[in-house]
């Protein structure tokens, strides 16, 4: 932001060399183009974020206003609270369950759908369809499929005489179940991006490999994946951020239960804020989550981008 400031005394000395005013002309034009974004971000993202940080140092009253300054107590409370540590752990596990599996699945589908076969357009449409189903709608459907007594999954298991699973009710399974449904919801989007990435790969690369008699998996490892790495990098970053912020399916499928096993941080924030009306601790959690995502993204850029192969 410092770029918009210019000192008038230097302005006088701009007869020959372009001075700060002249040099900052570009910056000023740029700011004009950026203005709508800057204003909107300031009002609807940065201001609320600062307010969140501010509130994280307070206990709030029943109207949601800061009432008692407690310094870092909210943070201390969180780090001591087994419930919050559990949320943090669940969130981390959830990210681990959904991101790699989701991307592998989408990659598999994208590779399949990238083959030039008759009727492939139909399959592509089907594979991308989950993007058009809202989280609210798909959660309702999955809720039904996970149903302990009448759900499809348990009926299927019963068909083969396997023991029944309490999908959303058993703390061992609940997070996995939510992860499965989340992977399904995200498949459409990841698939579309990966498929696009595959189609951008230069056909000649494959042809020369084929002349060398390279097999499918050799080509996959040596050509496809390296060439796809920028796309993979992009989708991993986006998936990571999205997984950290999962909310809708938790609200509908488990409400954070059973035994807090699916109480992801964003859901925990929602509950602190909407049900318990404790903005102090809710805000502290939000700040914590923000830092987590920030660190994850930075790490991802640090270590992930090294492996990315740019053309």
């Amino acid at each position: 932001m410092s770029t918009i400031h210019s000192r008038p005394d230097e302005f006088i000395a701009t007869e020959h060399k372009p001075g700060v005013w002249e040099r900052s002309r570009r910056a000023r034009t740029a700011i004009l183009y950026l203005l709508p974004s800057i204003i909107l971000f300031s009002v609807f993202v940065f201001y609320p974020m600062f307010r969140t940080i501010y509130l994280s140092f307070f206990l709030t009253d029943q109207a949601g206003d800061a009432a008692v300054f407690v310094g870092l107590d909210n943070y201390k409370y969180l780090l001591d609270s087994p419930a919050f540590l559990n949320s943090a752990k669940a969130t981390l596990l959830f990210v681990l369950y959904t991101v790699p599996a989701g991307i592998l699945l989408s990659l598999f589908l994208a590779l399949l759908a990238n083959e030039k076969l008759r009727g492939i357009g139909f399959f592509r449409t089907i594979y991308s369809s989950t993007m058009g189903v809202s989280v609210a709608a798909s959660s309702v459907v999955w809720l039904f499929m996970f149903h302990p007594s009448i759900g499809m999954f348990n009926r299927f298991l019963a068909l083969f005489d396997f023991p029944q699973i309490q999908w959303l009710l058993d703390p061992q399974w609940a997070l996995v179940s939510v992860a499965i449904s989340t992977i399904w919801m995200n498949t459409g989007f990841s698939f579309l991006i990966l498929l696009g990435g595959l189609q951008n790969i230069d056909e000649h690369l494959y042809e020369s490999a084929r002349i060398d008699g390279a097999g499918y998996f050799y080509r996959l490892r040596r050509i496809t994946l390296p060439m796809l790495s920028p796309t993979l990098f992009f989708i991993i970053t986006i998936s990571l951020i999205n997984a950290f912020q999962t909310f809708g399916q938790i609200d509908i499928l488990t409400k954070g239960g059973p035994a807090q096993s699916t109480n992801l941080i964003v859901y925990s924030i929602y509950r602190e804020a909407f049900v318990n009306y404790q903005f102090g601790t809710a805000s502290a959690q939000a700040v914590f989550l923000f830092l987590c995502i920030l660190v994850a993204t930075i790490l991802q850029f640090r270590f992930g981008e090294r492996r990315v192969h740019y053309q």
Partner: protein, 272 residues
């Protein structure tokens, strides 16, 4: 490119199996939407008969057409807003190099990491103070600036040859004219992509539209979906599923029609 027959069979088998598994939940919802209460509780897959009672009840219960129209207006509004705001910002990042550009860009990107649920209540106060409850702008304006969109368009604008920029300057085309006449037309696929992305995500929002509306005048379909489910009193699942189908059909259609464009454009964000 030709493929041996066994290989073809392998591929088609895998394609079909994947498609069946992936599409199953949607088909399942479709089936349930035709069932009666007892049929659902028995856990059947095929309804005994395809009766439309559930659909009739959904439209009877809720001003669903009104909701659909609102959803359409809100989604289209956010879509247009995002296109304008994000393309302006992305243009500045690519074609107007200035000091601190990277810093501002990083600031933009960092907004992607702030969980929306965490800032929702302060945002609600803002909307209320602006007197924007029950208005379209309360539903749309907070989403106009989008880091993801700016990022996506920036990646695409970067692929526009520098020569084009120089040539336009020689021809005396001002920056804004260049933006309007050259940059936007050649970025059509990215714009379509961002548009579809914005439209779909807005269409799917639930909590925010509920929070900033207190009556049905500008409410969207996702709220309608919630209204079909009961808490203490038993839920009529057939009606809920009929609602689900009605809600997802417009987005699925949009997706099917815009598939090609979408896929082309989405990858632009992925490439440096």
């Amino acid at each position: 490119m030709t493929m041996s027959v066994p290989k073809k069979i392998t591929f088609y088998t895998m394609l079909t199996v994947s498609a069946v598994i992936l599409f199953f939940p949607i088909v399942y919802a479709f089936m349930i939407s035709f069932m009666t209460g007892p049929e659902i509780l028995q856990g059947k897959f095929f309804p005994e008969s395809f009766h439309l009672d559930n659909y009739i009840r959904v439209f009877d219960r809720l001003p669903l057409l009104n909701y659909l129209l609102n959803s359409f207006i809100v989604s289209a509004g956010v879509m247009l807003g995002q296109l304008v705001v994000c393309s302006l910002a992305a243009y500045a990042f690519v074609f107007i190099p200035f000091r601190g550009s990277n810093f501002v860009f990083f600031l933009f990107i960092s907004t992607m990491m702030i969980p929306w649920e965490a800032t929702m209540i302060p945002n609600f106060f803002i909307i209320q103070n602006l007197n924007w409850l029950n208005t379209y702008q309360g539903l749309t304006l907070p989403f106009f600036a989008l880091a993801f969109g700016t990022f996506l368009l920036r990646q695409h604008f970067k692929t526009i040859p520098k020569e084009l920029h120089e040539a336009s300057q020689v021809a005396g085309l001002g920056p804004f004219r260049f933006f309007l006449k050259v940059v936007l037309p050649v970025s059509k696929t990215s714009l379509v992509t961002l548009g579809a992305y914005g439209f779909l995500t807005t269409w799917n929002m639930y909590l925010w539209p509920l929070l900033v509306t207190t009556n049905n005048s500008v409410r969207t379909v996702q709220i309608g979906l919630k209204q079909l489910q009961s808490q203490e009193v038993a839920t009529d699942w057939g009606v809920v599923m009929a609602g689900v189908i009605v809600v997802i059909i417009p987005t699925l259609l949009l997706l099917f029609l815009g598939q090609k464009q979408l896929q082309k454009g989405l990858t632009q964000g992925a490439l440096k």
